[in-house]
């Protein structure tokens, strides 16, 4: 049965770095992406590393030639160990969308962040 857990005040979540908290027995990272908040399990589906302790960042757009277009700034988390990139909103790995980090619904109520897990 999913339950809602208080994480922190919204102003405690900085862009660039996840707010990491315990949700039941799990470690979960809450990210601020623009005005939205998203939560990912702090376990990388690649090798089990603390995914959310890596930098919140952008990446290079897929292109056909030597153009280096930095896009999606702050929409990506780069895993703390091996550097694999994941879309914070969907949890999907950029190089292999079949690989997916677990996501949780986030709610914002009166300036407080809750994660449902």
């Amino acid at each position: 049965m999913a339950e809602k857990t208080f994480i922190c005040r919204a102003d405690q979540v900085e862009t660039g770095k996840a707010f990491i908290a315990k949700v039941r027995s799990m470690s979960v990272g809450v990210f601020r992406v623009g005005e939205e908040f998203h939560a990912l399990l702090n376990v990388c589906p690649h090798r089990g590393a603390p995914l959310c302790e890596g930098p919140q960042c952008g990446t290079t757009a897929p292109v056909d030639g030597p153009d280096f277009i930095y896009v999606r700034d702050n929409e990506i988390v780069r895993c703390a160990w091996h550097g694999w990139e994941f879309d914070i909103r969907s949890g999907r790995a950029l190089v292999d969308p079949k690989m997916r980090a677990r996501t949780f619904p986030v709610t914002l109520e009166s300036g407080n962040i809750y994660v449902t897990a």
Binding site: R47, G54, R78, H82, G83
Partner: protein, 360 residues
Amino acid sequence: MLIVDCDCHNYWLSATVLTPYLSGIWKDMFLEGEKTGPVGAFPHGHRPWFHPQDFSRKDVRPQTEADNYLIMKEKHLDRYDIDVAILTGDEPIEASTLANPYYASALVSAYNDYQIAEWLPKDSRFMGSIIIAPQDPRLAAAEIRRLGAHPRMVQVLASHGSVKPYGDPFYHPIYEACAEMGLPFAIHLGGNGGVNWNAVAPAPTTFFWETHAIFFMPAMAHLASMIAHGVFEKWPDLYFVVIECGVAWVPSVLWRLDADYKALRKETPWLKMLPSEYARRNIRFSTQPLEQPANVKHLWSALEAMDGENTLMFASDYPHWDYDDAKTLHIPPEWRPKVMGGNALEVYKRLPRLQTAFAA
């Protein structure tokens, strides 16, 4: 089960930790001389590739020199029940890139003294490596003899970047000293810049990931050279340990060496066995970064072809970005007792024989 980590990097925040271990002109040059980077950088000839997200895991963020050990203890040694961690330094192997062998030798000596004074006492699980600057084998041999009797120094270590393939007789004074002190000779990925200009056979590749993936090239050459020059005939008990160079390439190189040796044995009449037989007897490989094919059976068949159960030794490469953890290493489960620690006990004869732990 005994776990020996054959590649555990003891980091510093700043190479200035070496200052108390240097003296005279070397201290003067270290403090006043040009460096590769800002104050605190270790002098070395840099490689032509920069890591796009730097080498360290991002969950390892030391703020003080003391943190380097405390974080390692928490996130690595205690968490993965590591029984023995062989310290491999980090930047010091890059001394092999300097043209001035006297300065390079002074730097590695300072590092070795620092390691003995400031790292080994921190944790009984730590064992040390005598890092050498191989560009002057006579000075390297002197360093091996200076520290080789220390009971917790378990190997001699150099980078896999070098001015010649390591089997060349130029380097034999190093192996003579290793044999005399009863220590293995290990090479670790690195030192691919400065005087070690030909890091990648045709010429430098362009991108970091591209290069990192094929960086076993020098290790292939060292393996062939050590065997062909008869190092293991001159010193039959010497172990040659190849660290962080990948492993799945090994069987194919050995097959090729055996085939060519059978045809052209006359070039190296001092050899008495097939190249693969020397490799099986004298060469060991650390696992990290273990290749990750989509089908693990493809990897396991390569590992079987190199008798991996007896020739592989676990390594984590803590705290680097391509870290392998001890719990999820994808080797055949029945190999774990030997690969995780048993083989290391054979190679590193000074390791305490933790037989109880091994049996458990």
